[in-house]
Amino acid sequence: MATPVLDKVEAEAAESPYITVTFRIRRFNPEVSADAVWEDFHLEIDPKERVLDGLHKIKWDLDGTLTFRRSCAHGICGSDAMRINGKNRLACKTLIKDINPEKPITVEPIKGLTVLKDLVVDMEPFFQAYRDVMPFLITKDTNEPTRERLQSSEDRERFDDTTKCILCAACTSSCPVFWNDGQYFGPAAIVNAHRFIFDSRDEAAEQRLEILNDRDGVWRCRTTFNCTDACPRGIEVTKAIAEVKKALITRRY
């Protein structure tokens, strides 16, 4: 049984869940300076809120020039991948209490892509690699959608993991091979190729495998597992890449 005194203390604590958190944000504006700088913002915020809520507070109440992408705010659209405390995550899926709010929370744009302003990067090379693997159903004879294309649940299960991708680029921009020169196809393109290569209804697996047999294709993967760690959808990215490598070898020899 709690004493009345304790109840009161608890009630007071519950009244103010707010704590002071420092957001240390990597700012870049090419019209002001050629260099990116760190800027600190101090917020009163409930630690059960997300990093995205913190960014909103800054943009709406403190500094309207802060620029970042977000759309759904619920981990679906994949537009707010950023480097938070040195790790790629979705700002809308990261709770402040989970990333040690005692210390300043660093927020940077994802690496390996040109920064346009603050946290916004040019996603074009990322989507170029995605388009290159032909991420759409290809069938040889019947292209018209005349009837349902049936598939057993086991066949569907085969590529289930890679259907979950939201194209946030957290994986590709966490890959040290991609950081080097941006020519590597990157984990996300391979994940999305995997989704069709192992789909029993699709008939262009051979073409996609050939595309990924490129000098900058799957063989540049060094198995660092950064992509698997980064994926906000929990996709086993490195495993998917390994399966594509294996398919390339076993389907030929």
Partner: protein
């Protein structure tokens, strides 16, 4: 701000002084490297796959060769103290050890060279740097393989 225009209602003046004007535009952000018409088409082929497979297969063989080599040279039968001209001459009298060392030389050199080629590809950012580092690597590799092979085949135990 030298403008005297009154902005449309609801739009405040731009905060701060802009560094750039029409005559002095903001720096252009370079387009990221993309696969354009200029980038080589012939980047496909089975070389990278072969290299990848070779690393794994040669690795497996190297485990046996290198551990055997280290045991014989450094651990068994008195360890390092026994190594001398006579010991090497004795081993190379047998074709078995000649083949062993030759295989180890070739596999380790090609494996190591291909590994370093990967490292160069992963770390060197400029095309020039890559070219020079790889040139150096290939020269050193070919030199070492040829010299080692020459020694194994022409070794003369009676040399004075």
């Amino acid at each position: 701000m030298s403008t005297t225009e009154t902005p449309a209602p609801g739009i405040g003046p731009v905060e701060g002084e802009s560094l750039y004007t029409v005559d002095n535009p903001a720096p252009l952000i370079e387009a990221p490297r993309q696969r354009t018409k200029k980038t080589p088409k012939s980047t496909r082929g089975n070389f990278e796959m072969a290299a990848w497979l070779f690393m794994r297969l040669s690795g497996i063989v190297l485990v046996v060769l290198v551990i055997g080599h280290l045991l014989i040279q450094l651990v068994l039968d008195g360890g390092v103290s026994k190594i001398g001209f006579a010991f090497v001459a004795g081993r190379w009298a047998s074709p078995f050890w000649q083949v062993w060392d030759l295989l180890m030389l070739w596999l380790a050199m090609l494996h190591g060279a291909n590994g370093l080629r990967t490292v160069i590809n992963d770390y060197a950012e400029r095309a020039d740097t890559r070219l020079w580092l790889k040139g150096l690597l290939y020269t050193a590799t070919v030199f070492t393989i040829l010299l080692g092979t020459l020694v194994i085949f022409t070794f003369d135990p009676n040399i004075r």
